[in-house]
Amino acid sequence: MNILLTMIPMALIYATPIIIAALGGLYSERSGVVNIALEGIMMVGGFAAAAVTVVLEPNPMAAYFGLLAAVITGLLFSVLHAFACVHLKADQVVSGTALNILAGGITVYLCQIFFDQQRTNAFTTGIAKLSLPGLARLPVLGALLFKDVYPTSYAALLLVALTWFVVARTPFGLRLRACGEHPQAAASMGIDVVRMRYVGVLLSGALAGLAGGTMVLTQDIQYSLTSIHGTGFIALACLIFGKWNPAGVLGAGLFFGLSEATSIYAKDIPLLQAVPQDFFYMLPYILTVIALVVFSGKSVGPRAAGESYDPGKR
């Protein structure tokens, strides 16, 4: 029981950036652009957040300016992907790969320019945890969900609800989804496919940037080349495992977060002691492959995701 009390808040911390980045991927893929650059965008966001926080500290709002910087740099970085994929009809996977390579290079390069080392300087506090007055004193639930929680975790939940509303309940969401399913049909109804795809990719950049910033400011003491260590790809897995739906993303993200937390506490849990730690790290990836097989044949993902928009195609 005591282990659960520490494990679940831990899982929530791990799940937060996964969920936020996966929501970003959702906007992009729903508009018809595959974004495997989530990892790279998270790196850029993480770097910006750490760098700005270090410079502004001890200002109590430093970390929040850091997050703002992460959103802006993530958005700007994703312009490259949008320009290549939408304007120049680049292969979306190649462009994403280029961005991932570029992110690792440019962030560490700038660390050496600004901080004279392979990483940013360490910040002192990052984002401060908060306890909700009243709710935090609830038995069990209070300790699990309302005491010493990062505000970014609540932000992730809000973003899930907001994304559900925007994508499922607004004209904008309908248009976005139409561009990802059948762009030519969408265009015939007067939707500007190019513009919608730009919006989709830029939203994914802003959210993945925020996710990277959140991850570095809640799980790390500085940005380095290994700060993001594959979380962007877990977010991609989360998007698929969650069937490209905000609610599914939330569920998958929490599950993957729990799996990561379990890997740390497994040695204290009698039943799980024998399971090697690496197995828990593998779990999200194995499950995603299985999920892909299970989903196959059913139209789960956006149909036109990955294809360049060719107005002349029927």
Binding site: L88, A98, I101, I113, L236, A237, P276, Y281, M282
Partner: protein, 360 residues
């Protein structure tokens, strides 16, 4: 003919763009680009143009860097030829590395035979790792990009588990050293290049390059693979076994990458290693294949190019240039190649008007 010339022109333009951008980044951040080019020259020729000295060790290390990425380049390129995107060379490489370690440590065989067994085991393991996404693509139409990304991470953690649990690593980082019979090491090659890590790994690499060219260009099997890459439905209609070709293409692609794992594990190193993160050979392979236009000779040349970039990194760092400029240049080249429609459009506008040439 127009197509052949653009296969050469486009990568050359992209490379020039990439280096120009890299130089621009250096200038913008107050570093001199000249030192970068000097480092590249020295890493390829061994000549230090500043001091006027010559050290062949740099040449040896340059070849060591180029070997595995030529193989992952072949891996990515082979799948490309069948219309598949293999982002999984990294994972296939690690599967090969695990198998190479197992055979090197556990199998007893006479010198000569042992190392061949190591290489074959690595190819088999890489092929198996490639077969999974290939089969899932053929049988369930699951997109190979996502599966290969996931398989990369599965291989990484499998490798780290194997190093500790199977190979009983004492420090949990590296396994016991391999017996000499299992390795590609050569004291003669090393001595020739002033103590570099140069080894017999270039032999399987050259054999692979020739085999790639032969399979793709000279066999009916290669022709049917390419047909699937050009037009899946057309190939199906012509009676080719599309699904079988997809699986075989991924198996062979995986085998090339698996071999790279062996070349690194029993050539560059002499023990199996647990890794904190992927080392990027798979991404390098994507760059190599794209710049090399998925042809054997192209992969060879672009392997040398990116090998040079990797080899020059240490020298750059020692001269005060952040070594990450190499990744920035590599990424820019890949991005420019990805933008090929846009770039070839611009090239066509800049070039002299050619009557009768269609927009291709």
């Amino acid at each position: 003919m127009a197509k052949r010339s653009s296969a050469i022109l486009l990568p050359v333009v992209a490379i020039l763009f990439g280096f120009a951008l890299g130089a621009l980044v250096l200038v913008a951040t107050g570093k001199g680009p000249l030192a970068m080019f000097q480092a590249m020259l020295q890493s390829v020729t061994g000549i230090n143009s500043e001091a006027g000295s010559f050290n062949p060790r740099y040449i040896g290390e340059f070849i060591v860097q180029a070997m595995p990425i030529m193989l992952t380049g072949l891996s990515v390129g082979f799948a490309f030829r069948t219309g598949l995107f293999n982002i999984g060379a990294e994972g296939q490489l690690m599967a090969g590395s695990i198998a190479a370690t197992a055979v090197a440590l556990w199998v007893k065989a006479p010198p000569g035979a042992h190392v061949v067994l190591v290489l074959l085991a690595a190819m088999a393991a890489g092929g198996l790792w490639g077969a999974v996404p290939g089969y899932l693509k053929a049988r369930f139409n699951v997109h190979e990009v996502v599966v290969t990304i996931m398989m990369n991470y599965i291989a990484l953690f499998l490798n780290n588990w194997a190093v500790v649990a199977l190979f009983k690593s004492e420090d949990r980082i590296k396994t016991a050293a391999f017996p000499a019979s299992a390795m590609l090491k050569s004291t003669a090659l090393s001595a020739m290049t002033h103590g570099s890590r140069l080894n017999w790994g270039f032999v399987p690499v050259l054999v692979s390059l020739v085999a790639y060219w032969f399979i793709i260009e000279k066999t009916a099997f290669g022709y049917s693979l390419r047909a699937v890459g050009f037009n899946k439905d057309g190939a199906q209609y012509a009676g080719m076994k599309v699904n079988r070709n997809i699986v075989w293409s991924m198996i062979i692609a995986g085998a090339f990458a698996g071999l790279a794992g062996a070349v690194i594990t029993v050539g560059t190193f002499s023990f199996g290693r647990a890794l904190p993160a992927a080392e990027g050979y798979g991404f390098d392979g994507i760059a190599v294949a794209l710049v090399g236009a998925n042809a054997a000779i192209g992969v060879f040349l672009s392997g040398l190019l990116f090998g040079m970039l990797k080899a020059a990194q240490t020298l750059m760092q020692s001269q005060g240039i952040p070594k990450e400029i190499a990744s920035i240049i590599q990424a820019s080249i890949v991005l420019f190649i990805a933008m090929k429609y846009g770039i070839s459009h611009v090239l066509q506008k800049l070039g002299p008007p050619k009557p009768g040439e269609t927009d291709r």
